[in-house]
Each structure stands twice: as C-alpha cells, then as structure tokens.
Symmetry: C2
Subunit: 359 residues, 2 copies
C-alpha cells in the first residue's frame, strides 16, 4: 500500500506541496550565475558567510547571526547558552517540539538539558501552561507555527503576553522559526516585529524558502559569539559551508516575496479539502502555507483511493499517509511553487474527483 | 608583516601547497557532468549517500561507513561509542590531537570524555606511552600522520604492535585518518591493510583529496548504526548532504591515484629546503605529501624575505608564518596538484633564490 501511494505520487506531473523536486537542479540553478572565482568561506570567515549572516540578522532585527548546517545543531546550542546564563538545565517546550520527537534526544544526551513538556500534544501551548510550571526554567522554546499539529499559531497578542511574562520572570524566550517566513502574512507583521518578542531566533532555508539545507541562529552579539564556539564543538564549523549559504541566499531572494501567495493558496486549498465529506484540515483555516489533511478512514482505504486519483489526474496529493488514530489518517500539505504551477482546469478536475470519491 | 606575506602569497601564479584555490570552481567542476534530475539524498537515505558509503567502506575494508559533514563530529561520536561499550569515559591521544587543540574541547564539553595525553607534544606517541597509562582507557586515538609535528608516522611494525597490544587490553583503537590516503605510498600498504589494525576509522575528503568538505566514519555494522543515531543528535543528519558527497566522490576518483606522486614530490621539495642554510624540514624526509619548514630566524625577518621572493618569482611559498620558539618560525607544506603544475624552470629559479637568501 505505502509503496503504491509513494510510486503513484512520484509519477505525477504536478504536486500540491513543495517547491519542485529535491534534485541536483536545486544546486545547479543557485550556482548558475555565481562567479567560479568567488572565494570559499573558511571556517566561518569570509565574505560569503559574513555577508549572509549580516543580511539575515538585519532582517530578523537582531545584532548578529551565525549560519549553521542544521537547525538541530543551532537550537540545542541556543538552549545550552540560556541554560548556562540562567544556571539551570531545565527548560520547557511543546510536547511535539522537533527537539522532543525528531532529534534522538540530542538535547538531553549532548547537553544534559531536561525539557518540561508544556500543555498537551494536540493543542498549542499557552501562557497558562508556562505560568503553571512547577520549577523554574532557563528558557521556553516556542515553535511558530507548531508544525506537528498542522501549523497552528497563537494570536500576536497572545505571543506578546508570553514574551512579557518570560521577560518578567527572567526566562529566555527562544523562537523555533523553522517556518517563520511563512507566518508573516497571517500576523501581518515583519520577521523583525515577530522576532522582537524573542531573545534568540532560529530560521530555516529549506522549508518555504526551498534551498538545499542550512539554518541561521540570531540574537545579541555575545550570544552569537558563544554560539560560534559551540558550533565548532559540534563539528558544524565546516571549512566550507558555501554550497548551503549561497543557495540559501539565492532561494531566499527568489521566494521571500511569495509567502503571502502561498498563504492565500493554502487557505483556498484547505477550503476545497474541507468541502469533501469525511475530510477535514487542521487547522480548518490555515495560518501559514501549511496544514494537515485528515481522513476518517483507514490508511489502506484512503491510500488506495488517493493512489487511484493521482494516477488518473496526474496531481500528487501525498506520497505517504500517517495513521493518526484508529481509522483516522492524514498527511501534511506545504504550499509552495509547485501548487502555484498547477493549471486551474487540472485543479478543478482534481477537486471534482476528490468530492465524488469521499461522498 | 603578516598581511604583506599573505597578500604577496595571494598574488602568486603558482603555489607549493594545495590543489588550487578554494573557490566556487571546486563545486562547479564536480557538478559539471552530474544529471540535474539526480535525486537528493534525504536524511541519510538515497543512492547518493548510500552508494558512496558502501564504496568507501569497501576501500577501507570495513563492514559499513557513514558520511559526516565534518571529522570533528565523526570522531567525537566514535570515541563516545567506545566509551559506552567499555563503560569508561577515559581515553587517550597525542597532546597535539585535533580534538585537543582545534575543537574548543567539544569532546569534553559534549561527551564528558576525559582524554589522557600520551607522550609529549614534539614527538610521536609510542606503545610505551600506552603501556605506561596509569588508568584504563576505553579507546586510543592515533592520528596518521601526526599533523602538528609535520606529519610523522610510526613504522608499520610499530603500528601493528600498538594494535595487538590494544586488542589484548580491550582498548578500542580509533584511526584519525584525516590524511590516510596520503600515507599509503610510504607504508606501501593499501588503505584496507592500514585500517585492518583499527576498530574504527575516520577519513577526510578535503585535504589531499581536495573536495569541499566532508568525512567518513567506518567500522563494524553495529558501530556505524550507532554512529548514525549520534549523527542525528549532533545535527549532522542533514536533509541533503549531496553537495559534499558528490564532490567528495568526484575528487576522490580524480586524485586517489596521485598520492604516490605527491609523496615523491614532497620528498624532493623537502630536500631542496634542507639544502638552504638555516632552513630545515620536519620530518627531514617526509613520509606523506606534507612536512613543516622551519627557519632559525624571527617571523619578521623570514616573512619579509619570503614576501620578497614570492613577489619576484611568482611562486607562493606560504601565506603565513607561525612562531615556533624564540627566533624559530615555520609553515606547513602539503603537496598536491598545485606543486605538480609549477614549471621546472620556475622551480629551479625559486630554489636558487632561496639558497642565496638564507646563506
């Protein structure tokens, strides 16, 4: 079943999610117009890395920034610095934080930091969850949007309250901004305005931006200087990071202006899914370019149906299905360039067949 | 002074060291003939990463291998696995090991591993140093060649003795093979024959091989499986590592057959330096493509002279000088493609002027 769905997805000409295939063309396009005599960055120094760090720091409204090969590395380091500053290895995040479920417990194993889980898995964490903490924490990590629950967001006022509370309590507030660029249209705020509520910020360049890999960690100058020392300790201070930096810069410029159109498209797409019986999206109205689609049937039943539709219409809906509960399954949608490129008549055909299939 | 030497070095048309400028052409050349539809590796899976790991594992004669963004990450992880297996956070290496002097104490800070320094900084460590250890260690790390002392090597028989002793004592023997490819001509052994003496092996692709960055860690299958978990914890399990993997593979194939010619050239080059008064190389006769050049004068005096020679002849001798003791300074030479490309008449002119300058 899983393989049928995956292979039918791979054969489609169009896709609902993403920015196109993750193949070597992503690198080739980014490097096409780059002078081959341009000097590599060397162990964190040189114009390529320094200029990009300065550029992103400015956009985030932070004093300094440092480029990392991965967000996993960047965020563990941020939390360790706050743990040291507050002399407290306890911190707190959402039960479905990337650090809790996707990093093989790196935070605990490498940094001996003990995270407290705030609230419950199926909803956003709230200021009440933070106020209810039984023991002091050095930091709170907020992921905006909260990816594993479909990409949900608190109100901006709610964010401001959390920020003020943490400041008053001496708790460092760290932003897991893996999808920060993608939420600026919903908040109608700049990245800088959102980041002003946080002491440190991580952003990614391969989700909505669609580059190869890579992350930025930003904050005060002394925070970033300390992060650079940890970057070396982790083995992230590579002699050359330019394959990631130059492509991050290229795709940032190419797609940063498209976030509003991805967001608008995601809202329309979710509406179409919600019009189908037995199908709903989480959140019902997306607040970014992403949402989850849920079906009230088993993986086998839905998988067979989706594969048939993909084969017939040539639009990739999903290459996988995750079982969410008994007879509830789903997948994630992240709107990018690929969705925008689907001809309207093909999209209409897709939704007609979807509506009929799930009656 | 330092800046004069550096800028005179940068202006030269030829260089004694390296494989050419570290610029974007290194990436462009490697990707020139790669099909843009080739699919990226995804979080450690996919043909690009799996095929290269299999290829290098086979060359090293180990069951499995895993590609890492850096050797720093790979080696800390290897030592942690051996520490866990032997339930002992103590290990031992040379006082000038990369882990001791270039990694901001990552091994100690991230893994709480306590290294004991074997022997003294200016010489190779010996089996007697290992036998003299006062407390049991989980592992010994050997760097071949020992870079910070000019790239020195024990005899192969000496290596075999260390290997046998460690095996008998239940001490894991790890190879820091940052320059493993470069020592096969001296030992007249294959990489596999050398690696057979070690339980785990790290090799690099941007020294003699001249790729962009990247490392392989190899060993038994269960060792490598565990290393992959730690790779994720460190934030080294990037969604795409192909910019490094494909270029490592390209330059490996391009240069692996040239190691003997680099070694022969290094020996000749060292001989020429040793013919100059007040100049000597460490080691006197190189055992790989590298050696250190030492001058018995101050950085200022030698720097001025080298800059003048570089300006006049157009061959880059060194872009920096390190003070080794009072009125002793030096630099490192690593022979690669750049040296091979220097026309013989220019090289003769260089050595004539060097001999005259240091009379």
């Amino acid at each position: 079943m899983t393989n049928t769905l995956k292979s039918s997805y791979q054969k489609t000409s169009y896709k609902l999610s993403g920015n196109g295939p993750r193949n070597i063309s992503v690198l080739k396009e980014a490097f096409q117009n780059i002078d081959e005599n341009l000097e590599s960055d060397i162990y964190g120094n040189g114009a390529i890395i320094e200029d990009f760090q300065t550029k992103i720091a400015k956009i985030l409204g932070k004093e300094e920034a440092v480029f990392f090969p991965s967000g996993t590395m960047a965020q563990q380091i941020a939390l360790r610095i706050w743990a040291d500053r507050n002399d407290n290895r306890r911190m707190a995040y959402h039960p479905l934080s990337h650090l809790e479920i996707h990093e093989q417990d790196g935070l605990k194993e490498l940094q001996q930091i003990n995270p407290t889980l705030l609230g419950t898995a199926e909803r956003l964490l709230t200021i009440e969850d933070i106020k209810a903490l039984q023991e002091p924490v050095s930091s709170v990590l907020l992921e905006l949007p909260q990816r594993e629950i479909g990409g949900q967001l608190p109100s901006f006022e709610g964010l401001e309250e959390i920020s003020q509370y943490c400041k008053a309590q001496g708790i460092a507030l760290h932003l897991d901004g893996a999808r920060l660029w993608e939420i600026t249209p919903f908040y109608e705020k700049s990245a800088e305005e959102i980041c002003a509520l946080f002491d440190s910020v991580y952003v990614s360049f391969y989700k909505g931006i669609g580059a190869i890999a890579g992350a930025i960690l930003a904050g005060d100058a002394d925070f970033v200087q300390e992060a650079k020392i940890w970057k070396r300790r982790y083995g992230g201070d590579l002699i050359s990071l330019y394959p990631y930096i130059l492509s991050a810069d290229y795709y940032f410029d190419k797609r940063i202006g498209k976030m509003a159109s991805y967001y608008e498209a995601a809202k329309k797409l979710a509406e179409r899914f919600n019009a189908c019986d037995g199908v709903k999206t989480v959140p019902e109205v997306p607040v970014s370019n992403m949402f989850h689609v849920r079906f009230e049937k088993s993986v086998d039943v839905i998988g067979t149906k989706l594969a048939e539709i993909q084969d017939e219409i040539g639009v990739g809906i999903s290459g996988y299905l995750q079982e969410k509960a008994e007879d509830v399954c789903g997948f994630e949608v992240s709107v990018g360039d690929s969705f925008i490129e689907i001809p309207i008549n093909i999209l209409e055909k897709l939704f007609k067949i979807l509506e009929e299939s799930f009656e």
